[in-house]
Structure formats: structure tokens, C-alpha cells
């Protein structure tokens, strides 16, 4: 029993870290075409995410793998029920990765424009789809003894779309803050200004989301029975307000950090509300997938816990080292130097 709870926590952490890290890559990808004024700026944006996008995406692979290993029944049903949506997610992530890697290989306008479209679609679609998926997880799947009664279209219900919009806006703000921290001069300033505007949209949708959650989901039940937990959504709101505060103080770096905390706390807010469900059933709670009825055996969970406790800190350690190596801003000068390969 305690191992199932441990893995529920780890599951939440993996998703939260994934959204925090890939969030700025997805955001940068969505802005790549619209924020920039020339090819050089586009190159700079790609270079800001170049060393880290792949490593960030691995958190998604690990979250998927951890779901498989710790909660195989949830993994099996979630992935097969969401077949078409996941297929689109998969295609768009493939397109994003290839576009980021191949755009710079050939100096040709048509070539670059093609991959620019790929970067936008491959960034916007995952942000939206993952948001829609989590919205539907929060509100529950229409599933009972006969199986699943949803479809790709039924996922696009108002609450699902609202969560999708929230994710897109969180990542847009997050991405524009990342760009303002990682670039210099006019591009950086433009991005900071944009972040300030995006923030209002994020705030509006976040408020809507928090209200809608009371009507469309049972997420708040856990908070009513243990009010102390409310600290998590409060932190989310505080961090969200912090973004604007730090922007006003002229500190995009602190605003970006605040945005990191916002994303993590938003994910935690939702996942705490789910507990002990992984996917609630919206038709009959007897068919909800919980951490208890869909988990692996204690033996497997124990082994996976050891692996995670030993290796995840190592991963975090070398990831921090790498972020430190690439901490400097990406400028024209940096690109010129690196053009040698």
C-alpha cells in the first residue's frame, strides 16, 4: 500500500517536471515563427532549446514508462482509450524533434519554411493535446463494465478544451520568459513584453479553470476533507501572481522561476485532487482506475522504487550540470562561433 502511494507521488513528480521542462520548449516552439523578425532570430531561438529539448522530452518517456511499470492497467487502458489523441501527440512530437534538428542543416528558404511549420505544429499540438488529456483525466473517462464510451471528439468537451487552453497559455508565458532570459537585446525585450501580455490571458483562463473545476470534476473533494492541502493550489496562484510581480520589478529570471513553480503546482493541484484515482470513471466510480486496483505487485514496485531513488537524483545532478554549462545567453556571436559545424 505505501509503495502505491510512493509511486503515485513519483508519477505526479515525473509529469510535473516534464511539463515544467518541456513547457518552455513547447512555448518557444509555438513562438518561434511569430516572435521573430528574421532568420537569425529564428536560429537563435532554436539554439536556446537545442542542447536540452531531447533531454526534456525524456521526462515524458519516463512518465509513460513509469505508468507502465507501476500502474500497468492504467497505462494499458489510458493509452488504448486515447488511441487517436495519442497518435496525434506522437506524430506532432516526432515532427517537432525532426524539425528542430533538420531545419539548420540546409540553407534554403523552402526547406526552412517547411520545418518552421513543423516546429509550430509540433509544439502547439502537444501542448493542446496534453492539456485536453489531463482535463479529461481530471473530469473522468466515460467508462464502465462495457469499457470506454468516449472518442476523439468527446475529448474535446468544454472542460477538456479549457484545460487545453490553460496548458497552451502556461507554456506560451513560460516559453516567452525562457526566451527573454536566454537571449539578448531587442529579441529578449520583445519576448519580455509578450510574456507580460500572455500573463493576463493565462490568469484569466486559470481563474476560469479553477471555477470550472468545481463544476466539472471532483478534484476539490480531497481538499475539503484535508484543507491543509490547499497550500498547493494557493502556491500555484501565488507563483502565478509572482510572475507579474517579478516582471514589474524587471527580473525575467525570477519571473521564469515563478512560472516553473506555477506549472509544477498546477499539476500537483490536479493530481492531489485525483488521489487515489489515476483515472476516475465519470459514469460509475466503481470502474475508476485507482492506484490500488491498477498497480503492479509490491515486489515490482519495491524494485522500481529502489531504481528511482538511486538514479533519478543522479539524473537531476547531471542535468543541473548541463544547464550550468549552457547557462549563457544565445547571441549572434555564439551562433557565429558555432557555425563551424
Amino acid at each position: 500500500m505505501e509503495f502505491q502511494v510512493t509511486w503515485f507521488v513519483l508519477w505526479a513528480v515525473l509529469w510535473a517536471v516534464y511539463f515544467m521542462l518541456d513547457g518552455f520548449v513547447l512555448g518557444t516552439g509555438m513562438l518561434h515563427h511569430f516572435l521573430t523578425r528574421n532568420d537569425q532570430e529564428k536560429k537563435i531561438l532554436i539554439r536556446t532549446v537545442g542542447p536540452v529539448w531531447d533531454g526534456n522530452e525524456v521526462w515524458l518517456v519516463t512518465a509513460g514508462g513509469a505508468t507502465f511499470a507501476a500502474f500497468p492497467t492504467t497505462y494499458a487502458l489510458m493509452f488504448s482509450y486515447l488511441y487517436s489523441a495519442l497518435l496525434l501527440l506522437l506524430f506532432s512530437l516526432i515532427i517537432r524533434g525532426v524539425s528542430l534538428e533538420f531545419r539548420g542543416k540546409i540553407e534554403n528558404d523552402g526547406w526552412k519554411k517547411t520545418w518552421d511549420i513543423g516546429i509550430f505544429i509540433g509544439s502547439a499540438l502537444p501542448a493542446l493535446l496534453l492539456g485536453v488529456a489531463f482535463g479529461n483525466i481530471f473530469s473522468g473517462f466515460p467508462m464502465d463494465a462495457a469499457g470506454y464510451h468516449g472518442s476523439l471528439l468527446s475529448l474535446l468537451n468544454p472542460y477538456g478544451l479549457l484545460t487545453g487552453a490553460l496548458f497552451v497559455l502556461m507554456f506560451l508565458t513560460h516559453g516567452s520568459l525562457y526566451i527573454s532570459v536566454k537571449t539578448e537585446g531587442e529579441l529578449s525585450d520583445r519576448s519580455t513584453t509578450l510574456a507580460g501580455k500572455m500573463w493576463f490571458a493565462e490568469l484569466a483562463v486559470a481563474v476560469l479553470f479553477l471555477v470550472a473545476t468545481a463544476f466539472f470534476t471532483k478534484l476539490y473533494d480531497n481538499y475539503l476533507s484535508a484543507p491543509l492541502l490547499l497550500i498547493v493550489p494557493l502556491l500555484a496562484v501565488a507563483a502565478l501572481l509572482g510572475i507579474k510581480l517579478f516582471l514589474a520589478k524587471g527580473s525575467p529570471l525570477m519571473a521564469f522561476s515563478s512560472s516553473c513553480v506555477t506549472i509544477v503546482m498546477v499539476v500537483f493541484t490536479g493530481v492531489i485532487g485525483l488521489f487515489p484515482n489515476l483515472i476516475p470513471s465519470s459514469t460509475d466510480t466503481a470502474y475508476s482506475l485507482t492506484i490500488f486496483n491498477s498497480s503492479s505487485s509490491t515486489y515490482t514496485l519495491k524494485i522500481m522504487t529502489i531504481v528511482a531513488l538511486v538514479f533519478v537524483p543522479i539524473v537531476i545532478a547531471y542535468k543541473i550540470w548541463v544547464y550550468r554549462i549552457f547557462r549563457s545567453r544565445v547571441t549572434d556571436d555564439v551562433l557565429k562561433k558555432e557555425a563551424a559545424y
Binding site: 509513460g64 507501476a70 495519442l86 470506454y148 505487485s297 515486489y299 563551424a340
Partner: protein, 449 residues
């Protein structure tokens, strides 16, 4: 076609497409790391240029290996939900471990290697490509231990309507998994060796950058010979393990219908799957098959007829794939021997025909590798987990033929497009050759940041 057939087709398509990129990654990461090490230890700038040139081709290929890999993890749940539910307790673990131990390492240090030339010391830079090479090979170990478990399940009990893990150690030390790992890994090295030899041959034929490509060819030739010997040697033990643990697959690989002792090896066979016999056999090496399978001349081998029809794999694809794979293996062994001899003597350019053959042989180890996977996966049928779960019982209940048709078409189009782009980029940069002028090359120097 029903959902099972379509899902099988889709898994075959996506994993075989993934397997175009993985073997080259496995081998070329090592070759590139070796070249950079030569540069660091000798200071010879030619090795730096080699690192950059082969590294560039490595990266184009690597990108596609990464993005097509995630498809496979998703598909276990999307198309094979019943399988995932039934064996997730034991099969999910190696996948999660693979991601935690190998994928992070590989994805993080590839970034360091690509963008770190002027940010870290020479040695740290070389170490980062070694870490990438180590991580890709480590990832192969975990996925092949997982596949090894599907071939020869160990360390589990059937309980609570599923297979539950009771002995992680047994899975980690499953001989089937390790033999498969060794055989598959070294086959990836062959792909890289033939790739480097083929591209080098192209430039040697055009007489461009001859010293550069002579050295590259020589490194690849030695690497190719060693790995071909390893593939064959490990393959021999692997075959014996198959004979021991998967008698139906072994019988299909050899098109052996009757159970016999002192089984000979027929050089040519034309199977007749309707009449359950071989139309043509011979010439025969007496006792050879018994010896190959069980390392004794009088060992009994079970024929296909010893098993009910519905438990036999499709004989023709299993048999033909195995034969052609082994045949190609021997041809490639000869080629690598000649390659080593010519390049050691320094007479490569005196044999333009051989260079031409090497250029057009780039696909050979790719083909052999794909055939090997057909033997492994088609030969395991009708089981998805040998002796435990049938493929027909493993497919998702909730997906429709329409959905899988649509996804299959989507994958075909997307992957088709990616394949074209990959070949275009690889051949463009392979033909272009290395930059001649080393002064324009960024050297690994740590700058103050």
C-alpha cells in the same frame, strides 16, 4: 484484416523503421568516440576532422532514431493493452529502467557533445560522446532483456490473472536476453562498419581526401571484421538457446518437419508447408544440425509435426529469413576479411571493383538485421510471450479496425517522408565529404563564460 493483423503490421512497420536508425547509432557512436579519443591522445587534427564528419552523419541518423523510438513505447499501450495489462508487472520495469538509466544519459550528453565544443575541456568533450555511446548500448541491453523475456519468460508466476514478477535477478540474467543483446548489438556494429567503409569507398573511388578516407576505412574494416566474427559466434550460441527454449521457432528456422536424432544440415531446402515436408533437400552435412542445436551429434530435434498446427509459427518467412540472414553473414565475413587485408596493405585504391562492391554493400547488414528480427518475432508466433500469452489475446479491446487503418496509413506517410529526408540528408553530407580546412573548425577549447 482485423485489429490483430493491423496492429501486428503497424508494430512491424514502426519497429523495423526504428531499426533502420538504431543499429547505425549503436555502432557509429562508438566509432565517433574512438576517433575523438585518437584526436585527444594524438593531437592529430585529421582525427578531429574525422570526428566531425562521421559525427555529423551520426547526428542526422540519431535524430530519427530518437523520435521513432517513442512510438514503440506508446504502442504497447495503444495497440496491445491486454498484453500490457497481463505482463506489465514484469515487462514495464525494464522499459522504465531503460528510460531512467539510458535515455536521460544519452539525450543529455548528446546535447553536451553537439553544443559543448568551446564550453568544456577536450577530455570532457570526448567523454560526453563515450557516455552517449555507452547509453545507447545500455538502452539496447534493457530493451533486449525485455524482448528476451517475451521470447523466454523467466522470474514470474501467473497470479491475479496476470504474470507477476517474483525474481528480478532472473530477468536480468536471462541467458536468452543476453545472447540476443550480444548478437543484436554486434550486428549494429556491422551496420556502422559497412556504412563507414561504403562512404569511404565512395570517396576513395573519386580520389577525394584519400588519406582521410583510407584511415576511416581501416578503422571501420577492423571494427567490421571483429563485429562480424562476434555476430556469428554469439549467433551460434543464440541459435542453440533457441533450440533449447523455443523448439517451434527452431524447427521453423530449419524447416524441420519430423522429429529425429542425428539430424543433418541441408544446404538447400524448398519447404512445402501444405504437405508438411520439404520438396527438395540437400546436399546434406550429416549430424551437423544436431551439433549446431545441442552441441552433440546424436541429439534429438523436435520437428514441426510434433506440435499442433495452431502452435507453429509461419514456416516460410521464418525459414527464409534465417537462411538469407546467415548467408549474408558469411558473405559479409568474407568482405570484411578482404577489407582488412587491403587496407592493412594500403592497396585499397588498387581494387576499384572491391571499393564499388563495398559502396553498394552498405544496405547488406541492414537487410540482415531486419531479417533477424523477422526470425525472432515471426518465429515466436503464435505467441506474444512464448508459451504464456497468444498474440491474438494481447490486442486492445477498445480500438477499432478503422482507427488502426488510419494510424497505419498515417505512420506509412509520415515515416515515408522521414525516410526520404533522412536518405537525402545522409547522402548529401556523405558525398560532400569533410571540410578540408581545419583552421575553420571549432576545436574543443574551454572558454571562460
Amino acid at each position: 484484416m482485423d485489429v490483430v493483423d493491423l496492429s501486428r503490421l503497424q508494430f512491424a512497420l514502426t519497429s523495423m523503421f526504428h531499426w533502420i536508425f538504431v543499429p547505425l547509432t549503436l555502432g557509429l557512436s562508438l566509432v565517433t568516440a574512438y576517433m575523438e579519443t585518437l584526436y585527444v591522445t594524438s593531437g592529430d587534427e585529421m582525427y578531429l576532422r574525422m570526428t566531425k564528419f562521421w559525427g555529423k552523419l551520426f547526428l542526422i541518423n540519431f535524430a530519427l532514431g530518437i523520435v521513432t523510438g517513442i512510438t514503440l513505447e506508446f504502442q504497447f499501450g495503444m495497440n496491445w493493452a491486454e498484453y500490457s495489462k497481463y505482463v506489465g508487472d514484469i515487462f514495464g520495469a525494464p522499459l522504465a529502467v531503460e528510460a531512467t538509466l539510458a535515455f536521460f544519459l544519452e539525450s543529455v550528453f548528446i546535447g553536451v557533445w553537439i553544443f559543448g565544443w568551446n564550453k568544456i575541456s577536450k577530455k570532457t568533450h570526448a567523454a560526453s560522446i563515450w557516455l552517449v555511446a555507452f547509453a545507447t548500448n545500455l538502452s539496447a541491453l534493457w530493451i533486449l532483456l525485455a524482448n528476451g523475456w517475451m521470447q523466454h519468460p523467466v522470474g514470474y508466476v501467473l497470479r491475479n490473472n496476470r504474470a507477476e514478477m517474483v525474481d528480478f535477478g532472473a530477468m536480468l540474467t536471462n541467458p536468452y536476453g543476453w545472447l540476443k543483446f550480444g548478437h543484436t548489438l554486434t550486428s549494429g556494429y556491422m551496420v556502422a562498419a559497412f556504412f563507414v567503409m561504403g562512404v569511404s569507398a565512395y570517396h576513395l573511388l573519386k580520389k577525394s581526401q584519400t588519406e582521410f578516407f583510407r584511415r576511416s576505412f581501416r578503422i571501420a574494416a577492423v571494427f567490421g571484421l571483429l563485429s562480424t566474427i562476434a555476430v556469428a559466434g554469439i549467433g551460434d550460441f543464440h541459435t542453440a538457446e533457441v533450440a533449447k527454449t523455443q523448439p517451434t521457432k527452431f524447427a521453423a528456422m530449419e524447416s524441420l518437419w519430423e522429429t529425429q536424432k542425428n539430424v543433418g544440415f541441408n544446404l538447400f531446402i524448398i519447404p512445402d508447408t501444405e504437405k508438411e515436408c520439404n520438396l527438395i533437400e540437400g546436399p546434406c552435412v550429416p549430424n551437423m544440425l544436431s551439433y549446431l542445436a545441442f552441441h552433440t551429434a546424436d541429439a534429438e530435434i523436435k520437428g514441426l509435426k510434433a506440435f499442433p498446427r495452431e502452435e507453429r509459427p509461419p514456416v516460410l518467412p521464418t525459414f527464409l529469413s534465417f537462411r538469407i540472414m546467415v548467408g549474408l553473414g558469411f558473405v559479409m565475413l568474407l568482405m570484411t576479411i578482404v577489407a582488412v587485408v587491403y587496407s592493412k596493405r594500403g592497396t585499397l585504391e588498387l581494387h576499384p571493383l572491391f571499393l564499388k562492391i563495398m559502396l553498394f554493400s552498405i544496405p547488406l547488414p541492414y537487410v540482415a538485421g531486419q531479417l533477424g528480427w523477422i526470425v525472432a518475432e515471426v518465429g515466436r508466433q503464435p505467441w506474444i510471450v512464448y508459451g504464456v500469452l497468444k498474440t491474438t489475446h494481447a490486442v486492445s479491446q477498445s480500438i477499432s479496425t478503422l482507427q488502426v487503418y488510419a494510424s497505419l496509413i498515417g505512420f506509412t506517410l509520415l515515416y515515408g517522408g522521414l525516410g526520404v529526408v533522412d536518405i537525402y540528408l545522409l547522402s548529401k553530407f556523405a558525398k560532400k565529404g569533410p571540410d578540408n580546412d581545419t583552421s575553420s573548425l571549432l576545436k574543443p577549447v574551454k572558454e571562460e563564460i
